[in-house]
Symmetry: C2
Subunit: 330 residues, 2 copies
């Protein structure tokens, strides 16, 4: 099969697109013919070694996939050849990734792809959708009628948080940078969008949510926790899943005086059962047309190095715009 | 009745001990003949105005009490004159306090005093016991076999956290300052005690809890969250209920990568039902001899200004040692 892989962690140049032996489905696994796979920032961190993980060699990159079951290994009862599936959690914790024509995936990480939903849509929603839904439902415990704020509403995770929170009945306010992104966030369903390039987020939130925000979803790599804690309502929840190197000041007094919580999490450390619950909600939203993750670009497997470059230039360097997900269709 | 009260917030000198009209129990209230009342740091903050609250005038200070029901108002079914009771949550949120011969208290905040437990023991355990138990059970969700660390194991809340966590089956490590306090914490049941005056807390914890601590209970007014987050185990919980003016650096990366939570809370914002659940556990511990809050001093009501002075000198100025609670017996 054709695959995008590395033999050693390092720069984009370490990525090779070439032939590898077809994988075989082991016990409990399905062999998936990959129809679409999405790039996530963590793909670039694992590839570069910035996030240290035990990796097989060669190591196929990529977490997300959607495709068709080609075969199943021993002990797989719920999947059959021909089933349309999607999933994430690959290319992590020692598992092979998804940027290949075939992937052998533990069945616990595969979910049925609803009729009428494309492979591309499902792959684009996989990691970001699971992250958003896990954070909203399992961590923040968002309830109907609450106000949620997303700092970075146009980003990969942020844009899904907006849609899933709206579908869950929340009022959604975002901050984002620039007129285009404000319009983009409104198009995703945000009730209000603050343009941080010329508006003060704290002051605008005091106007838009004078009772405070119930959930503050932080996506910035350099968050201001003073603004966040100040804006939180009593019993507010602060969701943290980005900002790897950030060490902002944390105002403890108002945080505990308002009985707030800060909830850190990483999607891929959640259990298969918890993730399946999130996937079921995502399937419902996808099928109902309440979730549509924009796709910025979808190319052949050969473009994987270029897409890693683009993702890094956008997420880490802030040099290249990206409005939606980067995909390959192997 | 004799009472310790203020007419305006301000320094200790504003505290007057004199006669006030006897209160009458309103609907849903019990009139309690106060046998013991304990000083807590928040008493001094409310009195000084450092914590702004709506206060009646005159305002009787104090949160904690233990005593006998003298009479009940309309609609009180569960309490009868002569019942021995204890409670907290008074002198807060517009309610009158407990430093008086009589207090009219909403019955929802009163708990039965177990046979064989003294008024002094119950009053001394009230606010600190409820705080500790609420934090351990309702927020941190401490489970048997987990490792809990208390930064400040000899303090008012810390010393109760040690005892309640031990009684709940946790392994307990503390940090405290000086040989005497180390011995004191061991006497309370701590499995290990770090003396931060000449030991490095992070390094000692790495040795004592190489898998990380499951719950870090912070009581310092100037916490180091870098040390705390570094020491937390995967899915560790950081309990925050002190450090009103602290703004330490918060290392977001390791916090979310380990799926940690920071849990802020204030005891008196919890509901009566939740607090009653905590009080029932405390009663069980008191009756079983598993909880004994040391009493540093118990004097007459007239000593209230001196005790406020002592509490402030200890907690805020760090000038005067205090090993246990300060009480009055009106």
């Amino acid at each position: 099969m054709r695959a995008a892989f590395i033999r050693h962690t390092g720069p984009v140049e370490n990525l090779v697109v070439a032939e590898l032996p077809d994988p075989e489905p082991g016990p409990g696994q399905a062999l998936v013919r990959v129809r679409a796979a999405a790039v996530n920032p963590i793909d670039t961190y694992v590839r570069s070694g910035a996030v240290a993980m035990d990796l097989p060699s060669p190591f196929v990159v990529g977490c997300d996939l959607a495709g068709d079951v080609a075969a199943v290994g021993p002990g797989v009862a719920d999947l059959r050849p021909g089933d349309r599936v999607w999933g994430s959690n690959q290319g992590l914790l020692g598992r092979q990734g998804t940027f290949a024509e075939l992937a052998a995936v533990d069945a616990c990480w595969l979910y049925p792809l609803p009729d009428g939903v494309s492979y591309e849509s499902a792959a684009a929603s996989a990691l970001v959708g699971l992250t958003a839904q896990l954070g909203l439902a399992e961590h923040a415990g968002l309830t109907r009628g609450e106000t949620l704020f997303v700092n970075g509403g146009s980003g990969g995770v942020g844009s899904v948080v907006v849609q899933l929170a709206k579908a869950a009945g929340a009022r959604v306010v975002v901050a984002t940078g620039g007129r285009d992104k404000v319009d983009y966030c409104r198009g995703l369903g945000a009730d209000a969008a603050i343009d941080y390039t010329h508006q003060n987020v704290g002051a605008e939130l005091a106007r838009l949510a004078p009772q405070g925000v119930d959930v503050w979803w932080e996506t910035s790599r350099a968050p201001c926790l003073s603004t966040a804690v100040h804006a939180l309502a009593p019993r507010g929840r602060l969701v943290l899943m980005a900002g790897r190197d950030a060490r902002p000041e944390f105002p403890i007094g108002p945080f505990y005086a308002k009985c707030c919580k800060a909830l850190g999490f990483v999607m891929f450390l959640e259990s298969p059962d918890v993730q399946r619950r999130a996937a079921e909600t995502i399937n419902g939203r996808l099928a109902a047309g309440q979730l549509a993750v924009p796709i910025a670009h979808c190319g052949p497997l050969e473009e994987t190095p270029a897409l890693h470059h683009w993702q890094h230039a956008h997420t880490v360097l802030g040099e290249r715009p990206l409005r939606g997900k980067l995909l390959v269709a192997p």
